[in-house]
Structure formats: C-alpha cells, structure tokens
C-alpha cells in the first residue's frame, strides 16, 4: 500500500495487508476512510486500485469474487 500504509493506516496494517470485505471499491474507500479519516478526500486524485492484479478504473465493480485489492499511488504521464 505504499505510501498510503504509513501515511494513513500504520496502526491497522499488518505486513502491508488489511483484511476487509467491501462490496466494491467505493465501499472500500469508505471503509478505509473509517479507519483513517481523510483517505476518501485523496483517493480519487492520488490512488489507483488493482483488483486481482489488474488496474481497475470502475470503482462500482462488484468485488464479491475478488481475492485481493492492491492500493497504489496513481501515476499519470507527461
């Protein structure tokens, strides 16, 4: 989750992981914001999510069958 693990979730993260069961990525953002208020404010501009190894732009996607979400710094380009 770098850099968000240390910036937001230090006390909750164990070996870089958090165990949550969100129904979609919006729900994940809400849950993460519940743990560390302020995360939701920066999620859209600064975060990319990868679901089971693939970067996902649709945050409404159902996560029922997903095994893992990786939280990444958003990278744009020039």
């Amino acid at each position: 989750m770098p850099p968000f693990d240390k910036e937001f979730f230090g006390e909750f993260v164990k070996e870089g992981r958090l165990d949550l069961a969100p129904h979609n990525l919006f729900d994940l953002v809400d849950r993460l914001d519940g743990l560390a208020p302020g995360f939701a404010d920066i999620a859209q501009p600064r975060v990319h999510f990868a679901v089971d190894g693939v970067l996902e732009t649709d945050w409404s996607r159902d996560l029922e069958t997903a095994k893992e979400v990786i939280v990444l710094p958003r990278v744009g380009g020039g």
Partner: protein, 756 residues
C-alpha cells in the same frame, strides 16, 4: 521489424495517410494561443518576484491603476480564499490552494518569477509600463535550491503546513520533504553481501525544461451574465476548465474552454498558470484579456522536470542473475508538491526480475518553480542511474551488457515493483530486436563507443468522450475532447474508417470545445490513442449498428437480415437479397427514418499496458575538448500496434532527441542569489537538427489484447533510456563513467583529464 503475433490484417490501421491538420500547420494558418485575438481585447502582463523566497508585506497598485490605458489590476487578494482540496490536476494530484497561489502569490513568493500582480491595458506597452508602477514591499527570506540542502538541519522551510507524507508516525514538524514512497521486499543487505559482483554509485541531474516552442498564452472573456469563455492551448481543455473553475470557485459549466492548436507540451501544459488571472482581469475590466508569457517567463515561472540525486546499489550472481537492488532518490519538487516520487519508484527497476529490492523516493520542496510533468515523469532520472549501474555491473561480470539485460528482463506474469504482475509486455522482444539490428554489431571508429539502455513507462487509460456522427452525404465526423498533440486526429480518423470500412478521406476528426463534447482527461500519459481511440471505436461501432438498423427499416426487413460489408449495408432477405445501400443513401434519408445518425461513447478506459524501449547509441568523444558527438542512434520500442506508424516513429524520435539533450546539454542553471541564469534558448542549450544524426525508430509490435486494435501508448517511453544510453556510450568511447548530468564538454574534459 514487425509483429510476432499480428492479431489481424487491417485496411487502414498501420497506414500512413496525410494528417488532416497538416496543411494548416505547414502553411501557417493553424491558430495557436499567442495568435488568438478577440474583439475589444486588452493586453495583460504579469509582475513577477525578483526574489527566490520572500514575504509579501504590501502591494501598492494605485499608480498603475491611475495610468491612462490601464483597465484592471489584480493581485492574489482578488482570487477567492479556498479550502484545501486535493484534485487530480492533469497528470498528478495537487492542492487547489497551491494551484491558486502559483497563479498569483498571496503572502509569500517561493521562487524567482513567482507571479505577484497583473495588469490589463489597451496596449502591451502600457501594460508593461504599468507593471513598473506597482510597488511591492518584500521581506526577503533565506532560500534553498538543492535537494540535499533543503533537507539539512536548519534549512529554510517553504511551507509551515507541509508534513512529510508516507512516514509513520506523522512528523510533528513541517519539512521540505513533501512525500516519501518506499517499495520492495526481500533481504537486500543479505543478498548484496553474498553477491558475486556489486556496483554502487551516486548520480545527479538538474531540472530540465520540456522544450515546447509555443509559450503559455490564453484569452479570457468573462461576460456580464456570469458566463465566461477561455481560448487557450493546453494538453487538456477540460482540465483547464476544472482547475480554473475551482480556483475561481465558480461552476464549471459557466466556463467554455475552446482548445487552440498546441505548439508542444510534453507534460508541461497539463496545468494552469494564466487562465484564472486573465479571468479576474476580464471580470474587472469588462473586456476580453490576453495573457501570454515571454520565453523568459516560461523558463522562470513554469514547471520543469525535477532534478535528482540518486543512490544505487546493484548485486548479481556470477552468471549475471540480479540478486539485489537498492535505490534511493531525492527529486526536486520545486515550490509545491509534484507527485513524481511514486512514478519514479514504480519505474526504477521493474524491468528486471530481482528477488530483493528496496526503492525509496522522496520529493523535496525548494525555491524553484514547481516541477511539472515531462514525458514519463519521474522515470528518466532514476533510469539513468539504474541503467548506468547495469552497464557497470556488466563490465564487472565480464558479460555483454545486452545479454545481462536479456538474462534478467521481465516477461508477462513477472511481478512489478508494485507487486502487480506484468501483462503482455515486449521488453524481451525489444532486446532481441536490438541484438539482431545491424547497429549493434556495426564497426566503430576512433574515439567512438557504443552504449545501450532499456526502460519503460506504465502508460494510462482513463476517461474519454467521443461523438461519431454521419452527415447527410454519408461523410463522418469524429469529435473528441482530446487535444491533438501527436497526430491523434489522424489516428482517430483511421480507427473510425477501419470500423466503418470506408475511405480515410470520408472521415473528419475534430477537437471539440468543453461545451460541445463530454469530458476527456488530458492528452498525456500516452493515453489518447489508447483511450480516446477505444471510445472512437465504440462510437463508430454504434453508428454502424444504427446504419444497419435504418437500412433494414427502409427495406422493411428484419434487423438481422442486413449486414455491413465494405462500408455499406447488404440485404440478406428475400427478393431484396444482394441489394446494397450506402451510408450516404441511408444518411440522406435519416431525417425521415428516425433522425440524425450519431453515437456518443463515454468511457473510462482500462486494460492499458506499459511500453518498453531499448536504445543503442554511438558516441564519438573528442579527447581535446570533451565534446560528445552522437554518431548513430537507434530506438527500438514495443508499440502495441502502430495505428499511424509515421506519428509513432515521430514520437520515438522526438523523445530520443529530448533525452539526448537532457544527457548532454540541458540544465537549469541558478546563480548564487537564487536566480535562473539561462532563461532562454540561447543559453539553455537544446539539441537542434544539426546536433543529431537521423534517429532510427524500430517498431516492435506486441499487441495489447485489451484494445480493439492492439494499441499501447508510445509517447513517453522514448525519453527514458537515452540518458543512460549516452552515458554508457561515452564510457565505452572514453573509459570514463559520468554520473552527473548534463555531460557537457567541461565535465567530460574534466573526467578525461583528472590531473587538471
């Protein structure tokens, strides 16, 4: 060099038709932002700070306001007070408060050239005269320019509300370290200790300019009814609208931004500098206002790519297997947070399989203009260090540098630094193409040497909107919200023509203003041909479906009894079987068969894949002067499928040329009093055509399975490998390892003659 797995044969994709905007551009008719005029327009000018760091005690504008011909004066007090809000700004996240204060400083100036006040007058001469009448009282503050100096104990702190992000626990003191990003895993120290060979090096680079020729400029007109128009060139007019509206605390729909042709951006035109200021001046004066930067202002007041200090340690087993990498870098962020550290960390070592890694990036605030995106932002700097170290490691191991790279190159399924698995990438294919290329085995002359380097960029997808419509004569218009920087109008027309199976000349692609098409993200991140192309294909497919449906209704047959063949509809049913109806025939009757034929596709594209490149460079080093001549250069790149190969090759050649300039000549040079000493193209030495050989671009096509035509972004990768390719070639030619850019003649000479 072509596709190992070409997906299918195309009629238009992969051809090289003339670009639709070409004639206007070569005949001087194309309208760029400094050329645009509006009726009744005033001329704006901006007063800039002479100090690199100072508190603004007072600004007295009374004399300027009293000057005949002056219609408006503005300072930071004329912009609304904003709450902190982090927005995705073009290519990275920025706090809108920082964006506002960068347009017009409020309490402090943070770099020489920081905007302090602005005037609008009836002539440029009066505007400049008025600037001289504005009195600003400053309290000068200590300043800091270098990243290591900015982190030193007792260094002047730029912002008392910036606490280093990415560290735990949260610091209790403000710092110039704006952000720290660390990724990796394994036992780096243990692996380095047991490695058969290790290399260690410290590398440095100065900030560099994107080198766009057209300066920033805009015209703004804020009408009495609250509606406003802005004419500007940028990499994203929707981004200009969103940012300007946010800075001015007004509804986005009240601003209509019309994109003008863009004379280069390369990442530097993904933000705003002038638009809110022109808007305020227009509102105050009641007239349209133009603001245009001089070249000097562009250098002093807009964002360069960050410079860096980078420490690298690599370790390998005796057979060349990389066992450990430890990379730590400090990037110049300039006056505000720039967000290049995450990209640098992601782009540092991910092109190699390494079991034990640690990559740390820190963004450091200093009294320079806020750094901005430049082609593959954050990647070339760290790649220079890593690919130079790879060359050194190959030398220590006695392994050919290309073979060392091949042995360790990532393939599909290997993990990236972030932990994600790589998709269908083409790094190995590029290395194999380099190995097979005649350049790699060509003989060298006296004082010549050959270098190689590889690199990559992640690319992007994201939001795009496209409207495909059919005129009554069957010709097709593709309207996008993506500014055309590298030939995207031609590429969109090619993809629409491919879907519709009609001649390229029957498709006209245009860039629509913010009131005429849905939102699109900036043209940047190598996303437009991929994402806007995907939307174009989707909208054209829908138009094709509508045309088939209309033909079926006109014929009175079931919709499944028609088929699209060779750009027209063929009937499969009954006595009409074999009859054809052209797009023109259908569109000509569209008003009486359901209405005009058009389709909009609005999507947030995913499935993008990174691009990989391998560059081979031959240099000739003059031992008497230290001058380095590039004698041959080949750039090999996995491009997915090239929609228009001319423009793909152009992107590769341009990126390589910019990278060579970064390697050999380019750097922002500051005086001891914190002022930029080379604010112009005479003193800021970019390569020109006579400095470079023909750059051969080799297209390796490993299609992206997620795109209808296999597209991968191509624009950013080519600036990544040149820095190290040139350094490695100099080492091969002259036996000296240069770790500080630019490798200008004085530095090369000093390395060749250490005795002095």
């Amino acid at each position: 060099m072509n596709a190992p797995e070409q997906m299918k044969q195309f009629r238009h994709v992969g051809t090289r038709p003339v670009r639709p905007d070409g004639v206007d551009k070569v005949t001087g008719r194309a309208l760029y932002s400094p050329d645009f005029k509006a009726p009744g327009m005033l001329w704006g000018a901006i007063l800039r700070s002479p100090h690199p760091h100072a508190r603004i005690i007072a600004i007295d504008t009374r004399q300027a306001e009293a000057l005949a011909g002056v219609k408006a004066v503005a300072t930071g007090r004329d912009l609304p007070t904003l709450e902190s809000l982090v927005m995705h700004v073009g290519e990275g996240a920025s706090d809108i408060v920082d964006v506002s204060h960068n347009c017009l400083a409020l309490d402090k100036v943070l770099y020489e050239g920081h905007a302090v006040a602005a005037v609008a007058a009836t002539s440029p001469e009066i505007a400049r005269e008025a600037l001289a009448l504005i009195e600003v009282e400053y309290e000068e503050l200590p300043f800091v320019l270098g990243v290591e100096e900015a982190l030193a104990e007792g260094a002047p702190i730029l912002h008392d509300n910036v606490f280093t992000k990415g560290v735990d626990p949260k610091p209790d003191k403000p710092s110039n370290a704006a952000m720290r990003v660390e990724m990796g895993g394994g036992d780096v120290e243990g692996a380095l200790a047991s490695a058969a060979a290790t290399v260690t090096g410290r590398y440095s680079l100065e900030p560099v300019h994107q080198g766009y020729i057209e300066p920033h400029a805009c015209v703004a007109s804020w009408n009495g009814d609250g509606q406003a128009q802005i004419w500007t060139s940028s990499q994203g007019h929707f981004s200009v609208r969103a940012l300007t509206a946010s800075v001015l605390a007004m509804p986005q729909a009240d601003i209509r931004v019309t994109p003008l042709e863009i004379g280069g951006g390369f990442g530097g035109k993904t933000t705003i500098y002038l638009e809110p200021v022109a808007m305020v001046l227009s509102k105050k004066s009641g007239r349209p206002v133009r603001l245009a930067m001089t070249r000097e202002e562009v250098f002093r007041a807009t964002g360069p790519a960050p410079g860096a200090v980078i420490d690298v340690r690599l370790g390998a087993a005796a057979d060349g297997t990389l066992v450990a990498a430890d990379v730590e870098f400090l990037y110049h962020s300039g006056a505000y947070t720039a967000n290049d550290a995450g990209a640098g960390v992601s782009s540092a070592i991910g092109h190699y399989r390494i079991a034990n890694t640690r990559v740390v990036g820190v963004e450091v605030l200093c009294n320079r203009p806020a750094a901005k995106a430049y082609r593959a932002p954050g990647a070339p700097q760290v790649n220079f260090a890593v690919e130079s170290a790879m060359d050194e490691l190959a030398g220590k191991l006695g392994i050919d540098p290309l073979e060392l790279r091949l042995k360790n190159a990532v393939v599909e399924g290997d993990p990236q630094t972030t932990g994600l698995p790589w998709g269908r990438i083409g790094y190995v294919e590029c290395l194999e193409a380099a190995k097979a290329h005649p350049h790699w085995s060509a003989p060298l002359g006296p004082n010549q040497g050959r270098g190689i380097a590889g690199g990559y960029w992640g690319n992007y997808g994201g939001p795009s909107t496209v409207n495909v419509s059919v005129a009554e004569d069957g010709t097709v218009t593709v309207a996008t919200g993506s500014p055309d920087i590298g030939g995207s109008r031609a590429s969109m027309a090619i993809m629409a023509a491919e879907v519709l199976d009609i001649p390229y000349e029957r498709v006209r692609a245009v860039v629509a203003d913010t009131a005429s098409i849905g939102v699109s993200m900036v043209t940047g991140g190598s996303r437009t041909t991929f994402a806007t192309g995907m939307a174009t294909v989707q909208a054209a497919e829908e138009v094709k479906r509508i045309l088939c449906e209309r033909a079926a209704r006109i014929w009175g047959v079931a919709a499944d009894q028609v088929e699209w063949r060779s750009g027209e509809v063929t009937c499969l049913d009954g006595e009409k079987q074999g009859q054809v109806m052209s797009a023109a025939a259908i569109a000509g009757r569209s008003f009486h068969s359901g209405g005009p034929i058009a389709a909009v596709a609005a999507l947030s594209a995913k499935g993008w894949l990174p691009g990989f490149g391998v560059h081979i460079c031959d240099t000739e080093v003059d031992p008497e002067t230290g001058h380095v001549k590039i004698v041959r250069y080949t750039a090999i790149q996995d491009v997915g499928i090239a929609i228009h190969p001319d423009y793909v090759e152009g992107q590769i050649q341009g990126g390589a040329a910019q990278g060579i300039g970064w390697a050999l000549n380019e750097a922002y040079i500051y005086s001891k009093d914190g002022k930029l000493d080379n604010a112009g193209f005479l003193d800021y030495r970019m390569p020109v055509a006579s400095d470079l050989p023909m750059i051969e671009a080799v297209l390796v096509e490993v299609p992206n399975p997620s795109h209808p035509y296999g597209v991968k972004g191509v624009g950013e990768v080519p600036i990544v490998p040149p820095l190290a390719a040139v350094a490695n070639a100099i080492h091969a030619a002259a036996g000296v390892r240069l770790r500080d850019l630019p490798m200008a003649p004085d530095r090369v000479y000093a390395a060749l003659h250490p005795e002095g």
